[in-house]
């Protein structure tokens, strides 16, 4: 059996054609783009209007970290959802979601470097070397950078699909590092409820890929 057929959902579970048509609508991408910018707009507005509580620096650093994790989950959810729901059109949005994850991780890093460290480069370097929790977060950012840099079509062509795909598997390592970073951060509060939620979501999304891989290997 061709692999595309094994990936497709049974006809009975196929979503109505209207959903696919909606996903292919020319306004779908701009709409998603605007949605992805909402958290940024809300944080920016809050920062300008003193609406981020008693400790706006902490709020911005945490919120941008939270949104990075959320976009990581969304990006990794695209492929399982596309296959399970039989919605090939979903693939159109994966790159944008991935790039927004990078956008929020850059904001996260800049918030930390600016509001926490006052852009003191030697201080930041010392902090990264000294604290495993910062080191792991920084490593995740470094691993994401080549992925963001090779996200445009020409880069895919230049690398070749195989190599490009192999490179972009780094996002799985990023998922592990991101959860570890969050876990260590919350270890101070001894409060792992939210960490567990993200870890569970990412475990399901990565676990599904492992299952697919095992199935393909058996076939």
């Amino acid at each position: 059996m061709a692999s595309s057929a094994t990936h497709a959902a049974p006809a009975s579970r196929r979503p109505p054609a209207a959903v696919s048509r909606g996903l292919m609508h020319p306004a779908a991408k701009p709409l998603l783009f605007a949605l992805c910018l909402l958290p940024f707009g809300w944080l920016f507005y809050g920062a300008l209007t003193d609406g981020l509580g008693a400790n706006p620096a902490e709020y911005l650093i945490r919120a941008t970290g939270d949104w990075t994790l959320r976009f990581l989950c969304l990006t990794l959810a695209v492929t399982p959802l596309r296959v399970l729901a039989g919605l090939p059109a979903l693939a159109r949005f994966r790159r944008m979601l991935g790039l927004f994850m990078y956008f929020y991780v850059v904001l996260h890093l800049v918030s930390y470097a600016w509001f926490d460290m006052g852009f003191d480069v030697s201080e930041i370097a010392r902090d990264i070397a000294k604290r495993p929790f910062i080191l792991v977060g920084f490593a995740a950012f470094l691993l994401l950078t080549p992925l963001a840099a090779t996200s445009f079509n020409r880069a895919v062509k230049a690398l070749g699909a195989k190599r490009w795909q192999a490179l972009h598997k780094l996002v799985y390592a990023v998922a592990g590092l991101a959860v570890l970073h969050f876990f260590w951060m919350r270890a101070g509060k001894n409060d792992f409820a939210e960490v567990a939620v993200y870890a569970a979501i990412l475990a399901v999304l990565l676990g599904w890929r492992v299952l697919q891989w095992a199935k393909r290997k058996r076939a």
Partner: protein, 268 residues
């Protein structure tokens, strides 16, 4: 709750007082949730009357104090203290209360009493945070007897001239201004004198991060962040550089001698 300006050395800083709104809405009080907005949202359920504080252990005169009697035990003073949280932020808060020493003198500690343990309220019916096993409830803290006897160690009943809001530890809490904030237990129900160093809640949760002393010390970093600087809430703007943290939170002249000869890196 009126208090006359304290005459204790170092008890009234001239720094700008933090807005009441920030002091009463940005709190760590895990019994009401771990988010700093949770206590202000959830602590309305705390029932502060009737309230008794049991004082026992190695003392000649153990007693149960009704909150009304505790309030009248000594003259209420206003003290304006810096508060430095272990998380790296700080406030300046006008507290109302009196030196814990006044209460300690009343119960007359025995010769073998070396430490004081503070146990705080843990009521499942009114404290939603207790459902999470974040800490080993009830929240317990401790001081060495000489630290507890220090005139700056405050038994507080109010702040900003008013009775303590629930989220700030009503009806009675401790304030030890030269130690990180978590050393100052909120909503205290029991004070016990012991010979052994008491186990404290945060030390039980993460011994490598939170020691028994937990004196504010810019030279000893928390394993996951620096303690050299702090952000003053409501004052140091988003883009301002953080201010330097002072040894013993600026109370070195008053409390430094308590730790003479001690290795503060080891006794963090």
């Amino acid at each position: 709750l009126p208090g006359t300006r304290s005459a204790v050395a170092g008890a009234v800083t001239m720094e700008k007082v933090t807005d009441y709104k920030d002091a009463a809405s940005y709190n760590n009080f895990y019994e009401f949730g771990t988010d700093k907005a949770d206590p202000a949202r959830n602590a309305h359920t705390l029932k502060t009357t009737p309230w008794t504080v049991e004082v026992d252990g190695l003392v000649k005169k153990p007693a149960k104090y009704a909150i009304e009697d505790l309030l009248k035990l000594s003259a209420q003073e206003e003290r304006i203290y810096r508060l430095r949280c272990v998380e790296g932020w700080s406030m300046v808060i006008p507290w109302v209360g009196y030196s814990l020493a006044r209460l300690i003198e009343k119960v007359e500690p025995l010769g073998n009493a070396k430490y004081v343990e503070f146990i705080t309220q843990a009521d499942r019916a009114t404290m939603p945070g207790l459902r999470a096993s974040v800490l080993d409830w009830p929240y317990a803290e401790g001081l060495r007897l000489d630290e507890a006897m220090h005139p700056l160690t405050l038994l507080a009943f109010g702040m900003y001239g008013e009775v303590l809001p629930n989220q700030n530890g009503a009806p009675v809490r401790l304030v030890v201004p030269w130690k990180y904030g978590f050393k100052s237990g909120k909503s205290i129900v029991r004070i016990r004198f012991t010979e052994q160093e008491p186990r404290t809640a945060w030390n039980k949760a993460a011994a490598n991060e939170y020691g028994f002393y937990s004196n504010v010390n810019p030279n000893v970093d928390h394993p996951r962040w620096s303690q050299a600087t702090e952000r003053r809430i409501g004052e140091d703007g988003l883009f301002a550089k953080k201010r330097k943290t002072l040894m013993f939170n600026g109370y070195e002249a008053q409390v430094g001698q308590l730790y003479a000869g001690m290795d503060l890196k080891k006794n963090y």
